[in-house]
């Protein structure tokens, strides 16, 4: 293994569960990284990618540890060196750029103190030179006004600035290896583009090796030359970027790529059926970890774990390589053309303005007004239409949704449903008949279901509230609802804690459907889900619309998702409408500069 900067052999990470049975988070991972090389680790949540990354620094989260295998950085195993050597290694030899820089910076220390901490530990500079070095680093990461930045506290920086500080801090120790843990997740798309181009630049100029962990293969492909696909704790396929993206071999890689919604595609994203194997089951599983979800799985796959086999420049862990390369098992559906919508308008929003706070007495005394979050927004939704509402954080898209739902009072403007029902008032002032027609689904399925109620109870509640049903009919109705969102009837007795993220979101959708609504308001309902699950939810929404003709108002920051799902779209910036029109028009031929900028940021 000479010449490699980092090599990992048969590494397994996890903990010892009941009966001394090992629980694997990461299982038998092998990889090597040469100096200056950039490797992207891609996988869905729970696949063990972050644990693997942190293990490279000799760090294990509470309760986890190395079960077997070896790590060598520059010939040293970070798990075996003395604590002084380990401290020198961390931040000096290799440095981490964390996922959420806002939380990774100590809130009580000024930026300067946190920068200097690294310089003192990992550079030979005299204390007098620290300040200048900090300024140089800040200029390197293109932070505006470096002098000023040094004196600030973390909370006084924007999200993008915090991330740049974290990058500067990682570079301060002049490491040979940068470890990046989803550094752009949580940033707005336009900010993300800036950070990614900075990272590309750093790679090129400093020739630093990188391991970049992300759930987003498109982000990885911007920065990394090598890509490794992780699934259920194992690397299932690894190879050069172009090979892997253009001719994926492993059925999971193919499935993952097919599930990603893209702007320029004529087909719908194709979901992967089933769920990832949970860590508890990874130990007892003797076969391929993906066998349970794989369309090509044979008995061999279920009984014998596949070994890595080389194919040209890459290797794949799969028994059915030939069948997989034929690639016949994924047949994505064609995107449906927008159905012929009736002209009758379901919802009309006219001149809507919203602000969060009423003016305080001091403000009203001075004649000041607190700023409005939403300003003079007008749009309409027709029966059976799916309308997208896109924009970055702070654009007011969720606020509009909450106002229509009656959870946020409006300042001025009119909202009318079916031409007659007035939705301008808050929930309390609306008649029940009116409430039933508009239902809301939330972004985070973990928080939108009461953990103390079973699925059955959750679905029964709207039925009790809006309809007068007998107990027998009620049960039938609940079963029918579960069936409509493709969940088995047996799920009635389960608590939300016993469901996966995708399943919870299906229950949340079923709860909305229970009211037989005319309009469902969807607040980023797929953004907390993995792409393979997201694809299934998108398909479900399209099916529901086709079946029942319900209208959807779909808020999202993801343009590709909106393009896949929606008939028409509204682009928001700073609480104002920048552009509106049918999806085809707006995405093919954006008129407003902001829409163009947004589209240019899509990877």
């Amino acid at each position: 293994m000479t010449g490699s900067l980092l090599s990992i052999e048969n590494l397994s990470i996890g903990f010892t569960g009941l009966n001394d049975q090992p629980i694997f988070i990461v299982r038998d991972v092998n990889l090597t990284l040469a100096a200056g090389e950039t490797l992207g680790l891609v996988g869905e949540s729970g696949c063990g990618k972050s644990s693997l990354l942190l293990a490279m620094m000799g760090y294990y989260k509470q309760g986890l540890g190395r079960l077997r295998g070896g790590i060598a950085y520059d010939g040293q195993d970070p798990g075996l060196v003395s604590s002084q050597q380990l401290q020198a290694l961390r931040g000096g030899g290799m440095a981490l750029i964390p996922q959420n820089a806002g939380q990774a910076l100590t809130p009580t220390l000024r930026i300067k103190a946190q920068m200097v901490e690294v310089l003192r530990l990992h550079s030979d500079l005299a204390p007098g030179a620290w300040h200048a070095r900090c300024l140089a680093l800040f200029e390197r990461v293109k932070l505006p006004d470096p002098e000023e930045m040094l004196e600030r506290y973390p909370h006084e920086l924007s999200g993008g600035q915090q991330q740049r500080v974290a990058i500067a801090m990682a570079l301060a120790g002049e490491p040979d290896l940068l470890l990046l843990d989803e550094p752009t997740t949580g940033l707005d798309v336009t900010t993300q583009v800036g950070v990614l181009s900075l990272l590309q630049e750093i790679c090129r100029d400093l020739n630093t090796a990188m391991v970049y962990v992300s759930h987003d293969i498109q982000v990885i492909s911007q920065v990394c030359n090598q890509i490794a696909i992780m699934y259920a704790g194992e690397i299932v396929e690894m190879g050069p970027r172009a090979d892997l993206l253009n001719q994926p071999v492993h059925p999971y890689t193919q499935g993952l790529l097919a599930s990603i919604p893209r702007l320029d595609q004529q087909t719908l994203p194709h979901p992967i059926a089933g769920e990832m194997l949970q860590p508890v089951h990874r130990g007892s599983n003797v076969g391929c970890g993906y066998a349970g979800r794989c369309a090509l799985a044979t008995d061999q796959c279920r009984e014998i774990a596949p070994l890595a086999q080389p194919i040209a420049d890459r290797w794949v862990k799969c028994h059915e390589v030939t069948a997989a390369r034929a690639g016949e098992f994924i047949r994505p559906a064609q995107k449906l053309l927008a159905p012929n919508l009736s002209d009758s308008e379901l919802l009309a929003v006219e001149d809507l303005s919203v602000r969060y706070q009423a003016p305080t007495w001091l403000q009203s005394l001075r004649g000041q007004q607190p700023p409005a979050i939403v300003r003079a927004v007008s749009f309409g939704i027709r029966k059976g239409e799916i309308k997208g509402l896109v924009g970055e954080s702070g654009s007011g898209k969720s606020t509009i949704l909450k106002t229509i739902a009656g959870l946020q009072p409006s300042l001025s403007g009119r909202i009318t449903l079916s031409g007659t029902d007035d939705l301008a008032g808050p929930v309390e002032s609306r008649p029940r008949r009116c409430l039933r027609k508009v239902q809301l689904v939330f972004q985070n399925p973990d928080a939108s279901l009461n953990p103390r109620k079973t699925t059955g109870e959750i679905l029964r509640r709207p039925l009790e509230l809006y309809f007068d049903l007998g107990p027998g009919v009620m049960d039938e109705e609940v079963d029918a609802l579960l069936q409509r969102v493709n969940l088995p009837e047996s799920y009635k007795g389960r608590f939300p804690g016993q469901l996966s993220g995708g399943e919870k979101q299906r229950v949340a959708i079923a709860r909305a459907l229970a009211a037989k609504p005319e309009l469902i308001l969807c607040d980023e309902i797929t953004s907390a889900l993995d792409v393979s699950v997201q694809a299934a939810i998108l398909k479900l929404l399209l099916d529901l619309r086709a079946d029942s003709g319900v209208s959807l108002l779909f808020v999202s920051h993801d343009l590709a998702v909106v393009e896949t799902l929606c008939d028409s779209v509204l682009v928001l910036e700073g609480g104002e409408v920048r552009e509106a029109g049918s999806c085809a028009e707006v995405f093919k031929n954006p008129q407003h500069a902001y829409t163009q900028a947004l589209l240019a940021s899509v990877l």
Partner: protein
């Protein structure tokens, strides 16, 4: 920031004002007036009338309240029914003694509690933590009068090192007081340390699991520096107010400790005053203790303001 401070100050004053009303009206609501309560069986005829005249009890309640409140604002606490000396002279030295007792316990206890809490969090679920937490539970759950009694029997009866009960005049010089308060301070400290230590431990465990402490570790920062520079300040910030509130709540315990050790402070004075049914004295003490509480919380509020960059700096939200 300045607005925040003014707001806190105004609220402190309002609190004291409302407390004074509550204290006054509570005593009004008790059966009988102050003279009847004090005189008990002998509360009749001339004697009662004299007492009422002397203490101005025939005036309507609002008039007596405003007189009392105006007196308080100018430092006149009122007149005791039983004792002939002005209340300031009775309460003054005893109040000082109680403050000395509480302050010494706080000065010893708070740093100790922070260190122990941090240690327990660092060694969470390991032997050091289990021992610290076990002893803390013991100190929290065993009443002050039992701890006090045990300490007396150990240090003064068995070892004979320290005086068991405090024998001194209320207005003894400061040095005299300090030399005699070892055991009472120890009792108070044990209870206080136990409570504060548990709060610090919980808060510290949260902070130790935070991204920024992990990040400092992955920057190669030494364990000591991680704890002292990155974790501890952030663990203490949310506990400052909580500590103040709890110290104030524990002031109820001071009363018991003073009785156990026969210590001449306002705690013991208040018990005596209540036994004597000397309501004006009780009133004055209650208000004094409320002021102590308000002052303590005000200090904690201001401390939290000063130490928390999120409140102190630009863009701070009120």
């Amino acid at each position: 920031m300045l607005r925040l401070i003014t707001r806190r100050l105004i609220f402190a004053v309002v609190t004291l004002w409302v407390v004074s009303i509550v204290v006054f009206s509570a005593i009004e609501l008790l059966p009988g007036d102050a003279c009847q309560a004090f005189l008990g069986q002998m509360a009749q005829g001339k004697r009662l009338e004299n007492c009422r005249v002397e203490h101005d009890l025939n005036a309507p309640a609002y008039a007596r309240y405003s007189k009392w409140a105006i007196g308080l604002a100018s430092g006149d606490l009122g007149k005791s029914i039983k004792r002939s000396k002005p209340l300031e002279e009775i309460i003054g030295p005893r109040f000082r003694n109680t403050v000395i007792l509480g302050l010494t316990a706080a000065l010893v206890g708070i740093p100790l509690a922070i260190v122990l809490g941090a240690l327990a969090a660092l060694y969470r679920d390991r032997r050091a933590d289990l021992w610290i937490s076990f002893i803390a539970i013991f100190c929290m759950t065993v009443p002050e009068f039992i701890i006090g009694t045990l300490l007396i029997s150990f240090f003064s009866v068995w070892l004979g090192w320290l005086p068991g009960i405090v024998i001194m005049r209320a207005d003894a010089p400061l040095l005299d007081v300090l030399s005699k308060i070892v055991l009472p301070v120890m009792t108070l400290t044990l209870v206080m340390v136990a409570h504060i230590m548990r709060m610090v431990r919980t808060s510290m465990i949260d902070v130790l699991a935070s991204d920024f402490v992990m990040m400092s570790q992955l920057k190669g920062v030494s364990r000591l520096r991680q704890v002292v520079m990155h974790a501890l300040p952030n663990a203490l910030l949310p506990t400052i107010n909580l500590i103040a509130l709890n110290i104030a709540w524990l002031m109820g315990g001071v009363l018991v400790v003073e009785v156990v050790f026969n210590y001449p402070g306002i705690g013991r004075l208040s018990v005596n005053a209540i036994s004597d049914r000397d309501f004006p004295l009780v009133q004055a003490i209650a208000l004094l203790m409320a002021s102590l509480y308000v002052a303590l919380n005000l200090i904690a509020d201001l401390l939290a303001l000063v130490l928390n960059p999120k409140l102190r700096t630009r863009g701070a939200k009120v």
